[in-house]
Amino acid sequence: MNKHFEQFANQLLQQDKFPNEKQYEEYQMELTNALAKTEKRANLTTWTLGIAFSLAFIVAFIHHWFNLGSFVPGDDDATVITVIMGVFIVICQLLFPITIGVYFLWLRPRIIKLKEQLLDAKLAELRHDVSELRNLIVKSQTEED
């Protein structure tokens, strides 16, 4: 076989540099931090949804119970308070789809993905440990021979 080719193939083999223990730890730390941050955001989103829903329900209930008047500014029985109540309910109703969308389309998939990545990273570290052990065994066997 061509000597030049052989040399090239050998040089190519030298290029693979594998991660060390510290890099595995750093990667896991990054993933753990990202997961904690995303879980915090997911909690905040669910709380926002819950609070918005409860407040909208309470305001609508008060409005209906005391028969306070129309929410629409131009109507005869509309007051400043009923208009503010109306605006508040509209904002809360807008928040429902937004928070649900953010949670199910962004945060939940991200949490699942990060958990999978973390599991993969832990498995990778374990495999790394096993391969290190394998190398040690081979080394000690060679020394014994």
Partner: protein, 185 residues
């Protein structure tokens, strides 16, 4: 480095390993282990996963070596096992990057001389390889590491000769493009 054709020293080693010679089997491992790891790593992209697959490759080889009818074609047979196990692993992990569409056989212009000139720097080739698709990576890895013929590569990756030809052609073009971009940066 093994020749792959003809009755050479490696074929004798394979025959000895088939007869149960442990030393011959160790020799085969020594000979191919790193290159197989490089090849598997180009498909999987994960070092530790590749080590697992590599171990399975050697286990499979150990189990099936006696059934190999033509010791001279050991190299292709070995890479075929490695390729199949790596692809299975890749599918299992569902992280399979998009493979390029099979481009049907076309007459490709001869670019052999040009590629040898461009692909001289192993370090650059290694970096540029990472940026190619899995299909391009695997044909080029076999080409650069083992200098396999079109027939042999077709047998390893289990597709038509024409497809291999066109993949090598397009892969070399992409690689050249990547290297040129790297040189311009």
């Amino acid at each position: 480095m093994p020749e792959g054709r003809g009755f050479n020293r490696d074929t004798v080693t394979v025959i000895l390993a088939q007869q149960g010679d442990r030393e011959a089997f160790h020799k085969l491992i020594e000979l191919y282990d790193r290159r197989l790891l490089y090849f598997i790593l180009r498909i999987l992209g994960d070092h530790n996963g590749s080590l697992d697959v590599l171990q399975n490759v050697w286990l499979t080889v150990h189990k099936k070596l006696k059934k190999l009818k033509s010791p001279a074609s050991f190299r292709v047979w070995l890479y075929r096992i490695a390729h199949d196990l790596a692809v299975t692993d890749l599918r299992r992990k569902s992280k399979r990057p998009l493979l390029v569409e099979d481009i049907e056989t076309e007459e490709m212009p001869n670019d052999e001389n040009k590629s040898e000139l461009v692909f001289d720097n192993a370090e650059m080739v290694h970096v540029a390889l990472c940026k190619l698709s899995v299909d391009h990576r695997r044909v080029l890895t076999l080409h650069f590491l083992e200098n396999m013929t079109i027939d042999e590569i077709a047998e390893v990756i289990n597709c038509k000769k024409g497809t291999v030809k066109s993949r090598i052609y397009y892969a070399k073009n992409s690689l050249r493009q990547q290297i040129e971009e790297m040189l311009n940066e």
